[in-house]
């Protein structure tokens, strides 16, 4: 018996940001990431009958998304046709002699572990945002993650500034409690 039900009507609301965040850490381009997420939803819809209910909807969608991301990299690799290895440290380059400096490891460079932790943290944040009431989640995302101006949000959602601050305050308080429990 399936333990998890599938309901595509809510997919976009529930998972699009989560999937997008997952994708954007793997492909660095917003447009491509968006296309991949959209493709994932379509693919999910097509193969809905294969959903066995063994995992949650989100896990299932992520597994589709992973394939999509791999396919994306395969495609751009085959477009290139051949491995391009170009190291231009020959004498006719203007930067002759600069190579050593360029190749020294950057001590402030992010390590793989840092990146991994950031990805997980991003997903944890999205998990917490998902638990917020819809309006709070929306305002919080616009203000904190997308960095919109207060006025822009007020115009778009048709609320007053003081209303916005109340919503922000509630959202922040809930987010603090949620991250406290799940992350720190």
């Amino acid at each position: 018996m399936p333990n998890h039900l599938i309901d595509p009507n809510k997919w976009i609301d529930l998972y699009s940001d989560y999937l997008f965040n997952y994708t954007i850490t793997r492909v660095k381009d917003r447009d491509i990431a968006q296309d991949l997420v959209q493709d994932t939803f379509f693919a999910g819809l097509k193969s809905m009958k294969n959903f066995k209910g063994e995992a949650s909807e989100r896990t299932w969608l992520i597994s589709i998304l992973k394939r999509k991301i791999i396919d994306h990299y395969r495609k751009i690799n085959s477009k290139k046709g051949k491995a391009e290895i170009r190291i231009n440290y020959n004498s006719d380059s203007e930067d002759e002699g600069d190579w050593l400096e360029e190749r020294v490891a950057d001590p402030f460079d992010k390590t793989a572990e840092d990146n991994l932790e950031n990805t997980e943290l991003g997903l944890a944040i999205h998990n917490c945002i998902r638990r917020l009431p819809k309006k709070q989640a929306q305002v919080f995302k616009m203000k904190t993650i997308l960095g919109y101006e207060t006025e822009a949000i007020c115009n778009e959602l048709d609320i007053t500034a003081s209303n916005l601050w109340v919503i922000i305050h509630r959202a922040r308080t809930t987010m603090i409690a949620c991250l406290e429990k799940n992350w720190f």
Partner: protein
Amino acid sequence: MSKKNKIFVTCEEANHNCDKAQYNEATFWEKVKLVIHILYCRACRKHSSDNAKLSKTIAKSKVDCLKLKDKQKMKECFEKVLKQQQQQP
């Protein structure tokens, strides 16, 4: 004392200033009032530090999400396909 210029503010107002400060939207005077309030109010001090921690964490995570319009577009596209599929038995 006029209501606007008092130095000691309620916790509510301090919280409001604290939230504003997280987005760099608090005025200098609001920040001063917040700092004074925090000096004697333990609960707000805790909240203020937690609040700053939240901002820092989110900045560090480089979390990203879809823009409202893009999400709307995605939703419309998806619902079209969904409808098509539901019509076919």
